[in-house]
Structures are given as C-alpha cells and as structure tokens.
C-alpha cells in the first residue's frame, strides 16, 4: 500500500524534516509567540470593544443555539433558538450557555464539566469552527454567536453528540503502554524523548479534530487525527521497544490509517491544546516509508 504515497506527502515530508531539525522548544516558542500575538491582538480588540460598549446601552450577547430533541414532540424538528445573555467581562461561550439554561430554558442541553479546558466535554461548533465552549471568550466572536453541535457526529439532543465512534477509533490503536522487559524500579527516559512526545500526551479527547477533518467525515473507518496522535504518543516513546514500534506501525499503515490524511491541517487549526496533529501524522508517514525501504 505504500506505493500509493501521494506526491504531496513527500513534499510535506521534506518540509517537515526541516522543522523537525529545529529543536522542539523552538517550535514551542513559536507557538507561544503566536499565542502572545493573539493575546495582544485580543487586548486591543477588547479595549476597542469596551469603549464601544460603554457608549452603547446594549451589553447583551445574542446567541443562536441549535435545538433538537428526538423524544419531545415539537422539538423533533431541528431549529435555532435565540437567547439574549447579559455580558460581563471574561464571559465564555460556556458561561453564556449556562446562563441561558439556568435563567431561560432548563431543557437546553450540553455537556460540560471542568470549565478549564481539560475534561474535553464541551467541544462545540461556534461561529463555524470547532472550539471548547469554556475557553472561548464571547468577546472574540462576532454576533450573533451561532452555537451548534460538532459537525459529522450524530446529534443526541441539542448540543450533545454521540461520541461512541470517536471512542472506538481511539481504542482501535491499542492506546496503552506496552513493553516486555520492565526494570525493578523506574524506567529511564531522556528529557529529549519526553519532550518529543509531550504535546501528543496533551490530548483531551474532545473530538474537535475529528469533527473538522474532511477525510474522517467521508471515511468512517479512517482512524482520524486524535487516534493517530494517540498512537504517535506510544510509537515515539523510547520506553517501548523496537518490536512494539513495528507492531504499532502495522496498525498505522493499514488502509484506513495514516495514508488517508491529506494534510489539510484543519485538525491542527482547531485543536484546543495546540497539538501539532498534522505534523505528527506526517512524521508517522515518514516512519512508514523508512520501514518499507528497509530492503535497501
């Protein structure tokens, strides 16, 4: 199957090799810089908006929220409900949804728990993009704020989607550490190696990436960015031996594995934990190519 390596992948590979040669911390610093720029931009915007708000009397936000309930007559036909939510500084999309639910309509349904971007349960489609409700500031969004369930997933009710398929794909890559020879005490791991897998371990299983991926939408069997990233986390961990690495590569090289990725970067763009998903997938493709060229 590796004979079908698309041209574009090889180009990507060489580009990636370059970025790979830079140290991980440089890549991280670049991400941090991007974040800082974004924050500065946000500050400027906020100041401008606040000045504008102070002059107008209207300090509510208009939400347009997707509604659907298969059980209740009159709610079986999908629709959008409008909620006017009073704004306070720092208010997030999740805060606004909770306000709408607690004050206006207690049947408004969505998953949420930690409200600090680590439980991964409130991934939503907000103004046309996958985001975590809890870490999305209302002030970063254009009005009306349109809130929908994650696309390409079956809707259970209102903003709640069925995550079963996502979980199945995560489980399909044998997502657990496997090694045959364990020492008595701790295994050693180099700082460099820990650094290499660090970003991949940050996944919170929110499903934003899979929902944003065109390929995953069209191919139900494709492992998808989150599961491949999970496999990356173990494949690249030096504490697992070479045998296991080969076994993991076999899983990843299957027909619906890494080769399905068309490097559109949408997963990387929406990941709320800044995991370089596309980079990880490309790196695994390179590994696969290297493996298949071993007869040389």
């Amino acid at each position: 199957m590796s004979t079908q390596v698309p041209e574009q992948t090889e180009e990507e590979s060489s580009a990636d090799t370059e970025s790979q040669s830079q140290s991980q911390s440089a890549a991280q610093q670049a991400r941090m810089q991007k974040k800082r720029d974004r924050a500065a931009e946000r500050d400027r915007q906020k100041e401008a908006e606040e000045a504008e708000k102070a002059s107008s009397e209207d300090d509510t936000y208009l939400l347009k929220v997707f509604r659907y309930d298969p059980e209740v007559e009159g709610k079986q036909k999908p629709r959008f409900d409008e909620f006017h939510v009073p704004y306070h500084q720092g208010m997030t999309v999740l805060d606004a949804l909770m306000y709408a639910r607690d004050e206006y309509d207690s049947s408004l349904t969505f998953r949420h728990s930690c409200r600090q971007a680590v439980c991964g349960s409130d991934a939503l489609f907000v103004n046309g993009r996958q985001r975590l409700g809890c870490k999305t500031q209302l002030s970063d969004l254009e009005e009306p704020v349109r809130i929908e369930p994650l696309p390409h997933q079956e809707v259970v009710k209102d903003l709640v989607v069925d995550m079963e398929h996502f979980y199945d794909q995560m489980h399909a890559v044998e997502p657990y550490f496997q090694t045959n020879d364990l020492p008595e005490g701790e295994q050693l791991q180099s700082r460099e190696n820990r650094e290499k897998i660090k970003m991949s371990t940050r996944c919170i299983w929110c499903g934003a990436c899979a929902s944003s991926c065109n390929i995953a939408a069209g191919d139900n069997k494709y492992l998808g960015p989150a599961a491949i990233n999970k496999a990356y986390r173990f494949t690249m961990d030096e504490r697992e031996g070479e045998d296991m690495k080969e076994h993991r590569m076999e899983i990843l090289e299957q027909e619906h594995g890494v080769w399905r990725c068309q490097t559109q970067f949408s997963c990387t763009e929406v990941c709320p934990k800044d995991i370089p998903l596309t980079e990880h997938i490309q790196e695994l493709k390179r590994e696969a190519v290297k493996n298949n060229l071993k007869f040389w």
Binding site: R101, S107, S113, Y176, F177, L182, L188
Partner: protein
C-alpha cells in the same frame, strides 16, 4: 438487572485504580460513572504526586510531614499506609507509561511543595492529573474492564437493619443518561464509591461542575457516617474570575506573592518567616485574605503571584500549562505580568468514613479518593498528597472488595468502640423538612427507604431500591410546576461562600444553616421542566442539588460544632487549637432524616511511634 462482583461508582483516579486492582484480584468488575472516564475531575489536578523515592528521603519523613500538615487530626495508620505504599504506586504509574517530567539523568523529576521537608513531589509538567487519568484509563482499555459511562448512580441498595454497622450493601441503582432508563446493578462482592469532591457546595471553586458530592450524600443517607466535614481546603492560588487553579508548583519553583504595595507579605508581615510562600495552604490562604481585609489587596479582592523572574525557559519546561490557563481564563500573560490570585474552595478533607482498607461500617461498601475520609489529611491536606491518596486507597479498596486479604484494619468505623455523643446548638432544625416515614418522597431522602419488615435476599434489596428510585424520578418528572434546582443551588453556594469560607464566625455559620433550611423548604417544591428521556441534564442536576444540600449542611454543622482553630478551620471567636478537647473527629450520622453528631478520638499511634502534637509553625 446487571450483575458483577465489584461495582465501582465514579471513574476518576480512585475509581480507575480500584477497578484495575479488583480485576487483578480476579473479580468481574464494572465501572458506573456519570461522566466518560477521561472527563473526570482528576484530569484537572496539576501539581504532582508525593512519594519518598530518593536517597535521603523516607516514608517516615513523608508521614511526619503529613501528620504535622494535618494539624494532628490525621489517623496514623492511614497516613503511614499512604506514605509506605505511595512509592510503589508511582513506580507502577511509570511502568504504565505515564510521561513524568525527567531529570538530566532520565529519572523522574521531583520538586518541593508546601509543608514538605524534602522535594518529593513527582510531576508531569503542570498537568500531572491529566497524565495520571489518561494513563490509568489506558490500562482499563487494555484490560477490557467494562464501563457504563454516562450512567448516573442515584441510590445504594443497602439492607435495613436498625444498626448501620450490621447493614450490607448489595448494589446500586443508576439512571442511563442517554436513554432515560433506570436500572439496577447487583454487586456480589462490593460497591466502591469513588465519586470525587463536593466543590459545587461553594460558588468559587476549582472543582468541576460535576463535583456535587453524590457519593458521600448517598452513603450518608444509607447510614455511613460522614467524618470531619468542616475541613474544607481553600487553595491560595485560584484565578479570581473563574476559580481556575494555579498550581502550588508555581510557588514550588520559586513564585512570589506580593500585595498592593509590592511587599512580599508572607515574610514582611510575618505569616511564615521560614517557609514564606511554601507554608501550608491554610496558612497562605489566611495570609492573603488578611492582606485583602486590611486594605493591602488589589482591587480589594486579590493578591499577585509573580513567576516572571523564573525565566521563560523554566516556566515553559515546568509550568507551561499555567501560562495558557492565565491567558485563556484571566487574560493575563504571566510571562509579562504577575497573575491575580485569591483563595478558592479546592478540596474536602472530610468525607465518607473509611478505615485504611477503604471499607465503611456497612459491609460491602467501600470508598476511596476525595469522597472518602480514611483520615490521611486531617484538618489540612498538603499539596501533592491527593494523587497518592487516589492510587493507594483506590487500589486497597479494589483489592479488599474483591476478596484480597489486607489484614485487620486498625481504624474503627461506625459507632463501635470508643466514641462520644456530641451536641451543637442550631438556629433551625437540620435534616429533612419532614422526616420520612414509610412513604417514598421525590427528594431522595429516606435512606434505606421502606422497611422490609424482615430480611430480604440481596436481589430483593436491589430490586426494592430500583422501585423506590423509579417512583422518585417519576414524581419529579410528573410535577408540572414549582421551583427550579438552579435557583436553589445558587442560593446555597452563595451562602456557603459568604459564611463558611476561610474565616468563619458563629453568626455566619448559623446564617448558613438558616439559608440551607430555606433551600430545603424550596426543594420540597422542586420540579423538572424538561420532560425528555434523552440526556435530561435538568433531571440529573435536580437530583445532584439534593446532594449539595445535605453536604452543605454537614459541612456547616461540623464547623459550628468545632469551636477551635485547627488546620483549615478558623473561628473568629476561638483562635487557638485546643488539643485537650478537640483531638477528635467530628462525625455525622443520618438517622431518621436527621443528622446525629458524635465524636471519635484521633489515632496517633503509628506502627513504631506515636505522633506527639506540636505547635505548627512554618
């Protein structure tokens, strides 16, 4: 009816560890959880996991620090077990692949934490809990352990002998959130509660919205005592607008606290002349609030936590997560500015009374993790001691429930042995608005519910619990109008934060009891507006709110009874520790719909030594 040997309720760190241990002991085990496991609140833990791993350190030193940190209200057999078992558990997590931060030589890094005499906090950046939760869930997948996720356990199936210590737990009743069906789960060998903390009792908390104290409330109503509920830990560094946690690791790495005048107040105002920012959490929380109350706070609300001098490289290496949290949730870039912080509710030291094997006074009912009180934290938990608690006691509960031999426990549970009657003056009658008789009422009170008038088989007890619960849910859904849970819950949360916070006084505590009474009366009229049987969060939250009420009341009653200052519990009228009277645990038992207060002495005798209470200074 589902049937398993061991049923674990909750899928955070303690629940996952318990399930793995039970399965290793040969049991058919299943987890029932209202969240999918990876959504559990353990994932939000940041700082690290304490274990005496290195030369120069020892479990004995860890135990001494923990006993001192507890302000001598921890039970020595539990603390010693924690400190003895923790190194093995940390190595186990490493063997399961947990990506701990590493030193140059490839060993797991350790860093200093408050109240610890050795840098023994092993960590994975500032996301240790996330790594721990996912690593353990991976092991669950590997072992094929069955998980009923998004199933909300609402009742325990317990037999109804007069004396709780003679009762047996046979299973649980759970509500399938996706389909709206109730079902029974018969546990042949044991039920393990691992439902986490009750942070939602307060409105400024680091806890997840799901942390509503379901386990302790159910166990309490079924006859298990709640222990030391007044001891609520307020974490000194939470973001003011959201309650999001800024790990103690920031101070461990050298972060500094400043007041409005730029003074390093921990030293300059003499709160902790030796340890400064790394004094115990209760000490730092009080220092911060004192600064604010005396007009040296910023915007009369918070203080500053500064880590800029640590340098970008070190911050990114060890505390990167904090940069993102401060930016996303407070709009502050901590590489450029100090972070605003104030104390917020963080952890409940008290909970379901268990012995050091995780067992309660009801046979076959276990608890582990934050919902439990094996009494390892006493009146104040040291940072980095919650994660070893999860693994050590999760594992022990799992093994014991599955029939493993852990030896006889040294800590007694239930009203047995050495206990004394307690008394407290309350401004209003605590407990149910109308004490339940034979009738099933929609608010979930009634504990073991209708008396059987004779003993039933285990299956019949489980079936009876299911019937009772069906009626309760039905009546909540059938009611067409009344009060909504959100209003009731918010009123209680506000009152608790106002009156049962870091600083407490008698009048405030009494006011909180009146507010809770008021909320109970409103709850009599609660109804669920959403009639759907699909993902009905309105119904779930209504049931949770009843649990919040019971726990808020238990916390406040304990706080009112304990007229001394110990650990996290400070009373305006009684500002000293009174060992001659109060070297004892506050216990509350639910009897006929009313809380009954009693006490049990602290166990200070350890394996080879007795811990002598000393003045706690930092």
């Amino acid at each position: 009816m589902h049937e398993h040997d061991v049923i674990v309720v909750g899928a955070g760190g303690a629940g996952l560890r318990a399930a793995i241990a039970a399965q290793e002991e040969g049991a058919d085990v299943a987890i029932v959880s209202k969240l999918h496991p990876v959504r559990s609140h353990t994932g939000a833990a940041e700082g690290g996991i304490n274990a005496a791993l290195r030369e120069g350190d020892s479990w004995e030193q860890h135990a001494y620090d923990t006993m001192k940190g507890s302000d001598y209200l921890g039970d020595a057999p539990a603390i010693e077990t924690l400190c003895q078992d923790s190194p093995e558990e940390v190595i186990q997590l490493e063997h399961w692949g947990l990506a701990f931060s590493r030193d140059e030589d490839g060993r797991m890094s350790q860093r200093p934490f408050g109240g610890m005499s050795f840098p023994r906090t092993t960590y994975a950046g500032a996301e240790t809990g996330h790594q721990l939760l996912h690593t353990m869930y991976e092991q669950l997948v590997k072992r094929g352990i069955q998980v009923y996720d998004e199933w909300y356990v609402t009742r325990l199936a317990v037999s109804d002998e007069e004396d709780p210590t003679e009762r047996d737990c046979h299973g649980v009743v759970a509500y399938d959130i996706k389909s709206g069906g109730l079902d029974a789960f018969h546990a042949r060998d044991g039920v393990i509660l691992a439902t986490g903390g009750p942070g939602q009792v307060f409105d400024h908390t680091t806890n997840a919205v799901a942390n509503t104290g379901d386990g302790p409330a159910m166990a309490y109503r079924a006859g298990v005592p709640l222990e030391d509920m007044e001891f609520i830990q307020f974490h000194p560094t939470t973001l003011p607008s959201t309650g999001v946690l800024i790990t103690e690791g920031v101070r461990g790495e050298g972060g500094i606290l400043y007041n409005k005048d730029g003074e390093r107040f921990m030293f300059e105002h003499g709160y902790a002349n030796n340890d400064g920012e790394l004094a115990s959490r209760d000490v730092v929380s009080r220092a911060e609030l004192t600064e604010v109350n005396e007009g040296r706070g910023i915007e009369d609300e918070y203080v500053h936590l500064d880590m800029r001098h640590l340098g970008e490289e070190r911050i990114i290496d060890r505390l990167e997560n904090i940069v993102h949290l401060a930016e996303d949730f407070e709009g502050v870039d901590p590489l450029e500015q100090p972070m605003p912080v104030k104390p917020g509710q963080h952890y409940a030291m008290g909970g379901i009374e268990t012995d050091e094997n995780g067992e309660t006074c009801i046979s076959g009912l276990y608890a582990a993790g934050e919902c439990a009180c094996a009494s390892v934290h006493g009146s104040n938990r040291l940072g980095g001691n919650a994660l070893p608690e999860l693994t050590v006691f999760g594992k022990r509960a799992g093994r014991h429930a599955a029939g493993g031999d852990l030896g006889t426990a040294k800590i007694e549970t239930g009203k047995r042995g050495d206990w004394e009657v307690g008394e407290v003056d309350t401004p209003v009658e605590p407990g149910d608005v109308s004490a339940p008789g034979e009738d099933v009422v929609a608010d979930g009170s009634g504990g073991t519910a209708a008396s059987s008038g004779g003993s039933l088989s285990p299956d019949e007890y489980v079936q009876r619990a299911l019937d009772v619960e069906r009626e309760r849910v039905q009546s909540l859904l059938e009611k067409e109008e009344g009060r909504q849970h959100a209003e009731i819950r918010a009123d209680v949360q506000k009152s608790m934060t106002r009156n049962v916070n870091v600083f407490r006084e008698e009048s405030g505590l009494k006011q909180a009891l009146r507010d809770i009474r008021d909320a109970r009366e409103k709850y009599e009229d609660v109804y669920v507006a959403d009639k759907s049987s699909t993902f009905n969060t309105d119904l779930i939250q209504t049931i949770e709110t009843r649990n919040v009420l019971d726990l808020a009341e238990a916390i406040t009653l304990g706080a009112l009874a304990r007229d001394e200052f110990r650990g996290a519990h400070w009373r305006r009228e009684n500002q000293e520790r009174r060992d001659e009277v109060w070297l004892k645990h506050t216990m509350l038992s639910w009897e006929d719909g009313r809380p009954d207060l009693w006490y049990r002495p602290v166990v200070l005798e350890g394996e080879n030594k007795t811990y002598e209470p000393k003045v706690r200074s930092y």
